[in-house]
Point group: C2
């Protein structure tokens, strides 16, 4: 899917000096499906996280379904550590985020993924300070006693009527939010202005423009070499595609094409 930045293709995040910094441990409490553990490992390594901790996984460990679902994040799976209790799994950590869906009869500060990520980064940047994020079992979430161990509770603001995330989706959201807090993380959007009294051309209008143009280019012989045609067509479409054309501009361009063609045919 989406991804590779060719300008950084030489970077090896297995070397901590080249990676995005010291990230949180991911602690899965009583995970059920090996496949979910594997997908969590994949999401972790996508974002440069490696410290996976498992508290009493239902189907034992190691688990071949986990390895298959990790899709190559083998080092995360291979390095995963087993614990008998949540307290043991988090004993060395200094700052802990709990993820939970259900309202609890306790007062805890709620943070969004972006806010949790900023706090994890701030704590993680300090020497000898380690952090973690706690995830409950797929069907039931975290027990209140586990939530009580955490400093803050992660709240992902989603559709109020449909807020349940797959565990690997939840791991990805927090891991990606954390990755975005790295010093060299890419910034915000570029902007291209449009006049207020027009609108961007829709794809049907753009296609009409392309087909009009290509028809005329075929007719005049510009696209006459068959083996070069697909690439040339694509490059031409790209030129206009990148231009963020308005509907008015498309009409103007088609007028130009018609005008030039009429002249050629004379």
């Amino acid at each position: 899917m989406a991804g590779t930045d060719s300008t950084k293709a030489d970077t090896d995040w297995s070397d901590p000096a080249q990676g995005p910094g010291v990230g949180p441990a991911i602690i899965l409490v009583q995970p059920q499906l090996g496949e979910n553990i594997g997908m969590c490992a994949r999401a972790m390594w996508n974002c440069g996280l490696t410290d996976l901790r498992l508290v009493r996984p239902r189907d034992g460990w190691p688990n071949r379904h986990a390895l298959a679902a990790a899709s190559g994040a083998d080092d995360v799976i291979g390095g995963a550590r087993l614990f008998d209790s949540t307290a043991d799994a988090i004993a060395d950590l200094h700052y802990l985020v709990a993820t939970t869906a259900r309202p609890r009869d306790m007062t805890k500060r709620l943070v969004t993924p972006a806010a949790a990520a900023a706090e994890l980064r701030r704590h993680g940047n300090r020497q000898r300070v380690t952090t973690g994020v706690l995830f409950g079992r797929e069907s039931r979430g975290l027990h209140n006693d586990d939530v009580a161990l955490a400093d803050v509770v992660l709240h992902v603001p989603l559709n109020p009527a449909f807020s349940s995330l797959n565990i690997a989706q939840a791991v990805l959201l927090i891991a990606y939010a954390w990755l975005q807090t790295a010093d060299d993380a890419p910034g915000a959007a570029t902007e291209i202005a449009h006049p207020a009294d027009t609108r961007p051309a829709d794809k049907a209008e753009m296609m009409g423009l392309f087909e009009h143009l290509e028809s005329e280019l075929d007719d005049c012989g510009f696209l006459r070499v068959p083996e070069k045609r697909p690439t040339m067509v694509r490059n031409i479409r790209n030129i206009f595609g990148r231009a963020d054309l308005t509907e008015q501009e498309v009409r103007t361009l088609r007028g130009i094409i018609s005008g030039l063609s009429t002249k050629r045919r004379r």
Copy 2:
């Protein structure tokens, strides 16, 4: 997993007036596994997106695996539309984002999920302007001809050596980024300052504090009612848990507990 905001539990995003605004269509080109289509639908509805379009799904449509994996996002699955070509699927759209992993021999503007989300929101806020995000098949991504149709290419900055996302993970990242651009989306972190010469207490130190305190509270009879004990312990732990204690403060508190207990025993 993480989620429900009880303060908005009455909100029904099926009513556009209550939802997070007009979002992009999600277009899956030749998706292979029904399960992936279902997980995409789930991620969409998590974030308030409903317009799912499928271009020649490999295993036909409808697909029972898709419905099962949607985990209740049945309206998104039920409302999905089928198309014979990518061009047909995007014909009514004005602004299109393509997601692709591989470098292409074409000049396209690259945007991060946050940047793409901002552009989708900006375009989507205009009357009669519709947007979409294009995803390729699981194993091969988008064809160059499909990428050429898009205005920008989405680039998710991930681990350079491990940047491949499951298609539903990619849909979630862009959908969640879009949701975060809503006017009433929750803001950033709160901050608590620590002196530079100390560090936050770790979980083992906090546990030591709790056990010390609870032992003394048992001893003095404060926790004497067995059926109330678990809740009382949790509430007490929470009080200290919320305080963002430093290691020094934990030692101070334990000194206080010892001091108070010693006086009582006299």
